[in-house]
């Protein structure tokens, strides 16, 4: 698999770190892994750390938007950080920044969720 995912819980926030390429093939696997965590009912917020994500197409975008909608339904929040320029371009074109803010660091992204 050309994508590595590592997840870490910090209180009620799930931090998802993606490394590699997020396309149709890998997005489905990432979605299933995140959903399995969210379905446990402990998580309120999601933070995506994309520092090592070198590629993303519309499939990755759809997966991220899907997680955003789902976490919003659960009254949670989502933020993203450390976006590479190539991935930034896709987010920008799709208007993703109108609904989601990007932060420079993971700590900033977590702080932005406003969880004490």
């Amino acid at each position: 698999m050309s994508l590595q995912i590592s997840m870490e819980m910090e209180r009620n926030t799930l931090i998802i770190r993606l490394e590699g390429e997020l396309d149709h093939h890998t997005s489905e696997k990432v979605r299933d892994k995140i959903e399995a965590e969210v379905d446990k009912g402990i998580i309120n917020n999601l933070v995506f750390n994309l520092e090592k994500l070198s590629f993303m197409d519309s499939s990755g975008l759809g997966m991220m938007l899907g997680r955003y909608k789902k976490i919003r339904q659960l009254d949670g929040k989502m933020s993203i950080c450390s976006v590479q320029s190539s991935v930034y371009k896709i987010f920008e074109l799709s208007g993703m920044f109108k609904i989601l803010s990007v932060y420079d660091t993971e700590a900033d992204a977590i702080n932005a969720l406003g969880v004490a």
Binding site: D23, F55, S58, S59, G62, M63, L65, I90, L93
Partner: protein, 146 residues
């Protein structure tokens, strides 16, 4: 400048999406494109191949996808073709946010990305016969090296 071409055929499987974009990028690399240009090309190939897999063949791995790429001087032309179910209304399909598969978390941005990342996009499609996407771009030649 000389002409060059290549053709690639493979099964309509999601595993082949990365193979397809990496292969086309490797072929284009002989023009010494910028990293951003390579990236844009990988992205558009990924979009068109994913569309063939998901929409054209509806994930039926018996489907065959054909990609051809032509280099003519600094100009590249890439076509991605399937013999899948085709598109009823191409104009409508090309609109940003238009998708027929929202339940699969598609966002309807594929054609918009292809249009934006390339200089030119042309879509030919016939219901029941298939879809062919032609993408063109002029690469900025690095005069220092050539």
């Amino acid at each position: 400048m000389s002409k060059n071409f290549m053709t690639l055929q493979f099964a309509a499987k999601s595993e082949n999406e990365s193979f397809a974009r990496v292969t086309v990028a490797a072929f284009i690399a002989q023009l010494d494109p910028t990293l951003e240009e390579i990236h844009d090309i990988k992205t558009v190939v990924s979009e068109a191949v994913t569309n063939a897999v998901i929409h054209g063949y509806e994930e039926d791995a018996n489907g065959i996808i054909t990609i051809s790429a032509v280099i003519d001087g600094a100009n590249i032309e890439i076509t991605i073709a399937d013999n899948g179910k085709g598109i009823e209304n191409v104009e409508e399909a090309m609109q940003p946010l238009y998708t027929t598969k929202p339940e699969l978390e598609r966002s309807g941005m594929g054609f918009t990305i292809m249009q934006n990342f390339m200089d030119e996009m042309n879509v030919e499609s016939k219901v029941g016969e298939g879809t062919k996407v032609t993408l063109r771009k002029k690469i900025t030649l690095n005069s220092m090296i050539s």
